[in-house]
C-alpha cells in the first residue's frame, strides 16, 4: 500500500492567499429562504388562480378589510430587529434585549390580529376551509404565513431567554443576524400576501 499522500501538505509555490469564504450561516439561511419562497410562490399562484372562482359566498369583498394597523406592526418589527442586531454588534447587550423584546411584542400583536380576523371570519361570517375556494385558499395562504410568524417568534423567544440568562454576547451577533434575515423574510412575504389577499383579491 502506497504511503498516503496526505502525509505531505499540498503546499505548492507558497502564495499568500487571502481566503475569506462567506459565512455558512448566511449562505444556509439564504438557501432556506429560497426554498420557502418557492413554497409561498405556489400558494400565491393558487390564490391568484382561484380569485373569483368560488361557486358560493361569502366573497372576499364582503368579509375582508385590510388589516393596516397589524401590517404596520409587523413591518416595523423588521426595523426593530435591525436595530437589535446593530446594537448587539456594537456590544450593547441591554439595549439589544430591549429591541428584541419590542420585536417579539410587535410580532405577537400581528399574530393577535390574524387570530381575531380568523375568529370573526369563522364565527361571524361562517367562512371556513370547506366553505368555498376563497376559504380554502385564504386560510391556507394566510395560515402558512402565520405559521412562519409563529416559528420566527419561537426562535426570537429562545434568543430572548438566552439573553436573560446572559448567554448572548457580542461575538454571537452573526448568529442573531442570521435569525434576523429569516424574520425579514417573513415580513417581506407579508407584503406579498397583503397585496394578493387584500388588494388584488378584493
Amino acid at each position: 500500500m502506497s504511503a498516503p499522500l496526505n502525509a505531505t501538505a499540498l503546499t505548492l509555490p507558497a502564495q499568500e492567499l487571502a481566503w475569506k469564504p462567506p459565512s455558512r450561516g448566511r449562505v444556509g439561511i439564504y438557501a432556506l429562504i429560497a426554498a420557502e419562497s418557492a413554497i409561498f410562490t405556489i400558494f400565491v399562484v393558487a390564490y391568484l388562480f382561484y380569485i373569483g372562482k368560488s361557486l358560493s359566498g361569502p366573497m372576499p369583498r364582503e368579509v375582508l378589510s385590510p388589516p393596516i394597523f397589524y401590517t404596520v406592526c409587523l413591518l416595523s418589527s423588521s426595523l426593530t430587529i435591525h436595530f437589535a442586531t446593530t446594537t448587539l454588534r456594537g456590544g450593547r447587550v441591554r439595549s439589544f434585549a430591549a429591541w428584541l423584546l419590542l420585536t417579539i411584542a410587535l410580532g405577537a400583536i400581528f399574530l393577535y390580529g390574524t387570530a381575531s380576523e380568523w375568529h370573526r371570519l369563522i364565527y361571524h361570517d361562517g367562512l371556513t376551509v370547506t366553505t368555498n375556494l376563497f376559504g380554502t385558499t385564504y386560510f391556507s395562504l394566510v395560515g402558512l404565513h402565520g405559521f412562519h410568524v409563529i416559528v420566527g417568534l419561537v426562535c426570537l423567544c429562545i434568543v430572548m431567554a438566552l439573553t436573560l440568562f446572559g448567554l448572548v454576547k457580542q461575538e454571537y451577533a452573526e448568529r442573531v443576524e442570521v435569525l434576523s434575515l429569516y424574520w425579514h423574510f417573513v415580513d417581506a412575504v407579508w407584503i406579498v400576501v397583503f397585496t394578493v389577499v387584500y388588494v388584488i383579491g378584493r
Binding site: L5, N6, R24, G28, A35, A38, L133
Partner: protein, 557 residues
C-alpha cells in the same frame, strides 16, 4: 474551518459490541458515514423497487395474463415509480454527494453536520412511511393498502371520493417528509461548496463534480419546495375538506398537474446532473486527459439549471393548453437539448486522443454517453407537441423515460460505485466480475428498453393491466420482460461483487486510479477528519500538480 473536526472513537473496531456499533451509526453526524447510510438505504429500496418492476413485467409477459390482480398491478406501478425516484435515486445521489463533496473541496465535514443527519433520517422515515401503508392504510370500507394513484397522483384520483382509506395519505406524507430531508441536504450541499472550499479553490478551480452538485442542489431547492406546497394543499383537501383540486367546487385538476410537473421536470435534472458529475470525473481519469472545455461545461450546467425550470408543461401537451403555451414549451424543451448536447461533445472530446483504459467504471460511462444520446433524441421527438399528442400516455413515453433514468443515471451510478468503491472501502473490487455485471446489465437494458419503444409506437398504452392477443404487442412484451431478468441478474452480480470485495478484496491504496482530485490524496477509507492538514490548491487537478512538480497545471489555467 480547520478547527471543526469532530471527535471520533478510536479505531478499535472488532472489540466493540454490535449495540455500540449500531449506536455509533445511528447517532453519527460524519458526512462519510451518512453518505454510506444513504447509499445502503437506497440499495435496499433498489431491491424492493426492482421486485415491483419484475412483478409488473411478469404480468405483461403475455396477453390475458393474471399473475396479479388489477388492484395489485396499480399498486405495483405506483410504488415502483415513487420508490425508485424518491427512495432510490435521490438518496443514492445524495449519498455520493455527501461522501465526496467535502473530500473533493478539501473540507473536514459538511457545513451543517447535524442538519445532515436530520436530513438523512427524514428521508429514511419517508421511505418507511410509504411502505407502512401496506399494513396501515386499509382503513374503512375494505379500501386498498398501498397507494395506487400512479407516481404523479393526478387530481380526481387522490380525492376522498376516489381514494378511500389512507393509502394516498401515506403517499403524500412520505413525499412531504422526504422532501424536507431533500431540501435540508440541498441547503447543506450549497453551504458546503460555497463556504468550506479549501484555500486556493476558487469557483473556477472546483472539480466539475462540485459544480454539478451545486446546480443540482439549487434545483432541489426550487423544485422540491413546490412539491411540498402541492402536498400540503392535497392534505388540506383530504383532511380539512378544502377544494384546491376539487372540480365539484370550482377547483382545478389541471393545476395539480402544473404543480406536480413544476417539481417533476426539474427533478429529472436533479437526478441527471449528478450522473453528469460522475461522468465528468470518471471519463477524464480513464482517458488520461483533463476534462475538455471546463468553462463551457460549467456554463452548460448552469444553462440546463435555468432552462429546466421552464419546460414542465411538456408533460401536459395532451391536456390541451392552447397554441401559445404549447409553442412556448415545445421551444424551451428543444432548447434544453443544446447545452446537453454541448456536454456530450465535451465528453467525447475528452476521450478523443486519450489513452483510454476500459475499466468497469469507464465501460459504464461510455455506455452512458451513447444511451443518453438516444434518450435525448427521443426526448426531442416527444417535445414536438403534435407527435406527443399521438404518443402521450403510451409505452413509447415509458421507454425514453427509463432510457434516461436507467440508461444514463443508473449506468453512471454503477460507474461511480466501481470508481469510488476503493476509496470508500479501502479494497479493490473484482474487475472480471465487474465486467460480467456490465455486460449482463447492458444486454438486459437494451433488450428491455430498446424494444419497449415498439409496442408504444404500435399503440400500447402505459399502465394497462393486460391486453388482447393479436395486436402485434405480444412478442415485444415477451422480449422486454426477458431483458428484465438479465438486468436483475446483473444487479445481483453487482451486489455479490460489492460484498465479496469488501471482505476479501485486495487493499486498494489511497490512489488506485492515479487520479487528480483531492479525495485521492487521503487514506482509503478516509479518516474521520479527512485531511491531516487542510490542503491548498492551485489548479483544477491538485494531485497532478503534486505528482508532476515540473509541469503543474496551474501554469496553463
Amino acid at each position: 474551518m480547520s478547527t471543526e473536526s469532530i471527535p471520533w472513537p478510536s479505531a478499535t473496531a472488532g472489540s466493540r459490541s454490535f449495540v455500540d456499533t449500531l449506536h455509533e451509526w445511528v447517532t453519527t453526524v460524519d458526512h462519510k458515514r451518512l453518505g454510506l447510510l444513504y447509499i445502503a438505504y437506497a440499495l435496499v429500496f433498489l431491491l424492493i423497487g426492482g421486485i415491483e418492476a419484475i412483478v409488473i413485467r411478469i404480468q405483461l409477459i403475455r396477453p390475458h395474463n393474471d399473475f396479479v390482480s388489477p388492484q395489485v398491478f396499480n399498486r405495483m406501478f405506483t410504488m415502483h415509480g415513487t420508490t425508485m425516484i424518491f427512495f432510490v435515486v435521490m438518496p443514492v445521489l445524495f449519498g455520493f454527494a455527501n461522501y465526496l463533496i467535502p473530500l473533493m473541496v478539501g473540507a473536514r465535514d459538511m457545513a451543517f453536520p447535524r442538519l445532515n443527519a436530520f436530513s438523512f433520517w427524514m428521508t429514511a422515515f419517508g421511505g418507511l412511511v410509504l411502505y407502512f401503508s401496506l399494513i396501515g392504510a386499509n382503513g374503512l370500507y375494505g379500501a386498498g393498502n398501498a397507494p395506487d394513484v400512479g407516481w404523479f397522483a393526478y387530481a380526481p384520483l387522490t380525492s376522498q371520493t376516489f381514494s378511500l382509506g389512507h393509502s394516498t395519505d401515506f403517499w403524500t406524507l412520505a413525499l412531504l417528509v422526504s422532501g424536507f430531508g431533500s431540501v435540508g441536504t440541498a441547503i447543506n450541499i450549497i453551504a458546503t461548496i460555497v463556504c468550506l472550499r479549501c484555500p486556493g479553490m476558487t469557483l473556477a478551480k472546483m472539480p466539475l463534480f462540485a459544480w454539478l452538485n451545486l446546480v443540482m442542489a439549487g434545483l432541489v431547492i426550487l423544485a422540491v419546495s413546490p412539491l411540498t406546497a402541492a402536498q400540503i394543499m392535497l392534505l388540506v383537501d383530504r383532511y380539512l375538506g378544502g377544494h384546491f383540486f376539487d372540480t365539484q367546487a370550482g377547483g382545478s385538476a389541471v393545476i395539480w398537474m402544473h404543480f406536480f410537473w413544476i417539481f417533476g421536470h426539474p427533478e429529472v435534472y436533479v437526478l441527471v446532473l449528478p450522473a453528469f458529475a460522475f461522468a465528468s470525473e470518471i471519463i477524464p481519469v480513464f482517458s488520461r486527459k483533463p476534462i475538455f472545455g471546463y468553462p463551457v461545461m460549467v456554463g452548460a450546467t448552469v444553462a440546463i439549471g435555468f432552462i429546466s425550470m421552464s419546460v414542465w408543461a411538456h408533460h401536459m401537451f395532451t391536456v390541451g393548453m392552447g397554441a401559445a403555451a404549447n409553442t412556448f414549451f415545445v421551444i424551451s424543451t428543444m432548447a434544453i437539448a443544446v447545452p446537453t448536447g454541448i456536454k456530450i461533445f465535451n465528453w467525447l472530446a475528452t476521450m478523443w486522443g486519450g489513452k483510454l483504459e476500459f475499466k468497469t467504471a469507464m465501460l459504464f460511462c461510455v455506455a452512458f454517453l451513447f444511451q443518453f444520446l438516444v434518450a435525448g433524441l427521443t426526448g426531442v421527438m416527444l417535445s414536438a407537441a403534435p407527435f406527443n399528442w399521438r404518443l402521450g400516455s403510451s409505452f413509447f413515453v415509458v421507454a425514453p423515460f427509463h432510457y434516461v433514468i436507467v440508461g444514463a443515471i443508473l449506468f453512471t451510478l454503477f460507474g461511480a460505485f466501481y470508481y469510488w468503491f476503493p476509496k470508500m472501502s479501502g479494497k479493490m473490487y473484482s474487475e472480471t466480475v465487474g465486467k460480467l455485471h456490465f455486460w449482463l446489465f447492458f444486454i438486459g437494458f437494451h433488450l428491455t428498453f430498446d424494444f419497449m419503444h415498439i409496442p408504444g409506437l404500435l399503440g400500447m398504452p402505459r399502465r394497462i393491466y393486460t391486453y388482447e392477443p393479436g395486436r402485434g404487442w405480444d412478442t415485444w412484451n415477451l422480449i422486454v420482460t426477458i431483458g428484465v431478468f438479465f438486468q436483475a441478474a446483473g444487479i445481483l452480480v453487482f451486489l455479490v461483487n460489492l460484498l465479496w470485495s469488501y471482505y476479501r478484496g485486495k487493499p486498494a491504496g489511497s490512489d488506485p486510479w492515479d487520479a487528480w482530485t483531492l479525495e485521492w490524496s487521503t487514506n482509503s477509507p478516509p479518516p474521520a477528519y479527512n485531511f491531516a492538514l487542510i490542503p491548498t490548491v492551485e489548479s483544477r487537478r491538485p494531485l497532478w500538480d503534486l505528482k508532476h512538480p515540473d509541469d503543474p497545471d496551474w501554469k496553463y489555467e
